[in-house]
């Protein structure tokens, strides 16, 4: 019944036997103990579980681990390089883009992809790009400012 999957998570090769119905988010959290990726709704509407799959932001709560077989996955834990925060992470800290922090990893992963595609987004483009991620604390304004900080830092 179980299937073997091989994938790279945050640069580390992983191989595990998993149930075909195991969700990617539970694989990351429960098998690999990467608990920075959160579950907020189980219906792909809140974005708390967002990770990068071959560079694309995906919602790991509505994807099976077996669907990630062969893929390169980046989670929030893999975003900082050599101990330096990614500019989006730095922006969230600098501009108070988070309060309770629960949506933050997903928001940051989506934000990183957004800047990957559009290095100099307008405020409207930032808001549109983050539409798939819910935040209940910040009212989004400081998140927009965090993204502007990150865009400037990257340019």
């Amino acid at each position: 019944m179980k299937r073997t999957i091989s994938l790279t998570v945050n640069g580390v090769a992983q191989q595990h036997e998993v149930e075909p119905r195991l969700l990617l988010v539970h694989y990351l959290r429960d098998v690999l103990d990467l608990t920075g990726t959160h579950v907020g709704c189980e219906t792909s509407l809140c974005g708390a579980c967002t990770v990068l799959l071959d560079g694309q932001a995906v919602k790991s709560c509505t994807m099976f681990a077996v669907q990630a077989d062969g893929a390169k996955v980046t989670t929030i834990e893999g975003l900082a390089k050599n101990g330096d925060l990614h500019p989006v992470q730095e922006g969230f800290w600098e501009r108070h883009g988070l309060q309770c922090g629960y949506c933050t990893p997903g928001m940051i992963m989506t934000g990183a992809q957004l800047l990957d595609r559009n290095a100099n987004p307008s405020r409207d483009e930032i808001r549109h790009g983050l539409e798939g991620n819910l935040c209940r604390c910040t009212g989004y304004q400081h998140i927009v400012e965090a993204m502007e900080y990150a865009a400037q830092k990257l340019s």
Partner: protein, 796 residues
């Protein structure tokens, strides 16, 4: 360096942005079992039988518990002490009946969460459906009684207020009436609830990790429910992913997890799904009422009566009956109203309980008063800003007594209004509105001049005490440890409390750690809710430090050989004045006592010194070789701060909108908010609270609504149907402040956690109503759905 008042980056953020923080579900214990709940699919039904045999046979299932198994677990508590309140027996698992959709009926325990969830479907519950009571006014009117031990569905009735309201209304030039709806809302913390429980039978120790706002109150209540000594129960609140009042409660699941862990002597975990969260975590608001406001022809308000039905849901959670009481207290708003009366009819319905959701009764009151002010303005053809100005108490009228029995601590409502009016250029905005209307555009301006009640509160006015506690300790190495009872859930107290302490102690912010949310480490506390953490808990930190410094200065004086009264404290350093220093130099040098063993702490160099830092004093206090007579070793102090009054923040929000004629959608043009929360500790965190509050208010005004159908089925059970605002739906918020210190606490702070949610809703509704005024609209109920607006535009 002064930290208070600075935009200091949060010390809690690095772990959060790196994904390294620990929420309940991130804590893993070996051999943990997972719990899933069988929940009622009916709003009102009798349980004829429950068959758990198939579930028990399922792979991985360890146990299944139903109502009869947990008869020994105490009921879910309600803290309200209202006289003549009907309090139904709220068992942790349903007994003979279910009374709301989502009510826990059975608990399935299995080796992993998938197995537990699978087995839930194998529990067969045979129900006999009963007539559901869904509408609150129908509940009040009679018919089916939900709790058969009572004669009717009315949980309580209450009349409050001062002044002769009948005479006041009779003597008015005009009396305006309006029915208003405060729809049910779901708080939606992004982290749903979660509980992990571990029982050690040998030590008879139960530890419960729960995503809660009130670890100590939870411990007390769970100890009583489960039947374990309170000092054998440890509640740990790890990182909490938002609360907004929804985690200011004691839930059946929390007690059940503790109890199950004791039965099985293994760790057990339950993580709430979002569906469960919308079904079975408390809702907010849920009032419908009739406003009667009397005024003179010049706009002076003479009296306000509000007859309201409160939809409490099926059971009382911790504070359910208290919420309409808060509504009554705040009905005077920012105005001088000679006579006020509220008549509450609070009813049981076959729905989830309502309770404290961000604002908790005050958004309802503010909405009533602010809508009433707009109605007066419309009736008299006055500008809504002018009507408000006419009824403000003057800045010199504080402390200001209201006809609801409160004493507002301090305020300057005119100043906040003037600042907001200036910031948005109100006169020009009105000119532009005229021009836009002439072009056929649908443009409106809304205004709200709110006041709210914060820093909850004096213990006399609170069900379970209203003080807050702090312990401050300087460790031998000079590091400062602060323990606060005000356990946060995103507010940033680890930073803001450290700012207060760093200034008061003159130490570096990075030398301070704020500990919270562990009942075995932190002294008893009340928690974070009601915009109280900084005003009450921050004050406790401040006064605890002042106590600690009294002792530190005695030790410093002793070591520096001078009179304590001649010591000065600045920049974290005790210094002897020049004259005293000369005298100290003449005295005998201090001779160290004994020989320090290897590995002992370094002894402070004190010989010939004329100054020493408080961190050096801490070391001396721990080594305890050079203390004044009768001085206890160590350097720590604890303080429990009891506030003498609430605080009353206020402000003005002005918003302009344009409505799309073709779609009925309202688009925000400007949003200006001038808030006064007293003294500000960290402006960046205050802005964040205001932003978030405004957007939750916007959610209520525009999108959010918990909908039950006429059978009591929850229709809005996922984020597909329950519309939380998204980034693209909210305006840029232009914020400013006035700063009127509160005299209630030495920090002068008032509180800011709920201000946005309270102030913004009526401004937004007012703007849309104003836009639609040419269509004869004087009021619209929330949420302001585009289809309703479109219908008005296209049929009138």
């Amino acid at each position: 360096m002064a930290y208070v008042g600075q935009r200091i980056k949060r010390t809690e953020d690095p772990r959060l942005v790196k994904g390294l923080a620990h929420y309940v579900d991130d804590i893993k214990l070996p051999d943990t079992l997972h719990v899933a709940f069988v929940r009622s699919v009916y709003a009102h039904a009798r349980i004829k039988s429950i068959d758990t045999s198939a579930a028990l046979q399922a792979p991985g299932v360890v146990a299944v518990y139903t109502g009869k198994d947990v008869a020994g677990v105490g009921p879910v508590p309600c803290a309200s002490a209202l006289p003549d309140l009907k309090v139904p027996d709220y068992r942790v698992l349903a007994q003979q009946k279910v009374v709301f959709v989502g009510q826990p009926v059975a608990a399935v325990v299995a080796t992993d969460r998938y197995a537990a969830r699978d087995a839930v479907d194998l529990v067969a519950v045979d129900y006999e459906e009963l007539t559901p009571v869904v509408d609150v006014e129908a509940a009040a009117a009679g018919g089916t009684v939900i709790h058969e031990t009572f004669a009717d569905n009315i949980a309580y009735k209450l009349t409050a207020g001062e002044g002769d309201i009948a005479a006041a209304l009779a003597a008015s030039d005009r009396v305006i009436t309006q029915r208003v709806l405060h729809q049910r809302l779901a708080p939606i913390a992004m982290e749903p609830r979660g509980v992990l429980a571990r029982y050690f039978p040998g030590e008879h120790e139960l530890t419960i990790w729960s995503s809660t706002q009130i670890p100590h109150l939870l411990r007390t209540q769970l100890a009583l429910m489960i039947g374990i000594a309170e000092n054998k129960l440890r509640v740990i609140t790890p990182e909490v992913g938002g609360g907004f009042g929804s985690k200011l409660n004691v839930y059946a699941e929390e007690a059940l997890l503790g109890w199950i862990s004791m039965q099985l002597a293994r760790p057990v975990k339950w993580i709430e799904s979002r569906r469960e969260n919308i079904q079975a975590t408390i809702h907010g608001r849920g009032q419908v009422g009739d406003i009667e406001i009397g005024c003179k022809n010049d706009g002076t308000v003479t009296g306000l009566r509000y007859n309201v039905f409160a939809d409490l849901g099926a059971y009382h959670q911790l504070l359910t009956p208290q919420i309409p009481i808060l509504t009554g207290l705040m009905l005077s708003g920012a105005y001088r109203i000679p006579a006020i009366q509220i008549n509450v009819t609070a009813c049981f319905t076959n729905k989830m309980a309502t309770d404290a959701y961000r604002g908790a009764g005050r958004p309802e009151a503010t909405y009533v008063v602010e809508r009433a002010m707009d109605l007066v303005a419309a009736e008299l053809g006055m500008d809504p800003a002018d009507v408000r100005r006419r009824n403000f108490p003057a800045a010199t009228d504080f402390p200001f007594h209201t006809a609801t029995g409160l004493e507002y601590d301090s305020g300057n409502y005119q100043a906040a209004l003037d600042k907001a009016v200036g910031l948005i250029n109100y006169a020009k905005l009105r000119e532009e509105q005229k021009a836009a209307r002439a072009e056929g555009r649908i443009v409106g301006v809304g205004i709200s001049t709110y006041v709210e009640i914060c820093a909850l509160g004096p213990s006399q006015a609170m069900p379970a005490g209203g003080w807050e506690s702090a312990t401050v300790r300087i460790e031998p190495t000079g590091k400062v440890t602060i323990m606060t009872g005000a356990s946060p859930h995103g507010q940033g107290q680890e930073t803001s409390f450290a700012q207060i302490a760093a200034d008061e102690l003159g130490v570096d912010l990075n030398d301070i750690t704020v500990i919270h949310g562990d009942t075995s480490i932190v002294q008893y506390g009340i928690g974070t809710f009601g915009s109280r953490a900084t005003a009450v808990g921050g004050t406790a930190v401040l006064v605890a430090i002042q106590k600690l410094k009294e002792k530190a200065s005695k030790i410093a004086a002793h070591i520096l050989k001078c009179d304590a009264s001649r010591l000065s404290f600045s920049g974290g350093c005790y210094s002897v004045s020049a004259a005293q220093a000369a005298a100290a130099g003449d005295s005998e040098p201090v001779v160290p006592v004994g020989q320090a063993p290897a590995g002992a702490l370094p002894e402070p160099e004190t010989q010939g010194k004329t100054s020493m830092t408080i961190q050096e004093v801490a070391l001396a206090a721990h080594i305890a070789k050079e203390l004044p007579p009768d001085t206890e070793p160590g350097l720590s102090a604890t303080y429990f701060f009891e506030p003498k009054n609430f605080t009353f923040p206020f402000g003005t929000h002005i918003v302009s909108v344009e409505i799309d004629r073709d779609t009925g959608e309202a688009k925000f043009l400007r949003y200006v908010a001038v808030d006064d929360c007293g003294k500000v500790i960290n402006p960046m965190l205050v802005d964040g609270q205001i932003h978030g509050g405004i957007v939750q208010a916007l959610g209520q005004a525009m999108f959010e609504e918990v909908v039950y159908d006429d059978q009591g089925q929850l229709v809005t059970g996922t984020f597909m149907d329950y519309a939380v605002p998204r980034a693209s739906q909210v305006p840029w918020m232009e914020l400013d402040r006035t700063e009127t210190p509160s005299p209630v606490n030495p920090l002068g702070v008032k509180g800011v956690g709920e201000a946005g949610t309270i102030g913004a809703t009526p401004a937004i509704v007012g703007a849309v109503v104003d836009a639609l005024a040419p269509f004869g609209v004087k009021h619209l109920d929330m949420p302001l759905k585009p289809e309703n607006i479109w219908r008005i535009i296209n049929t009138r």
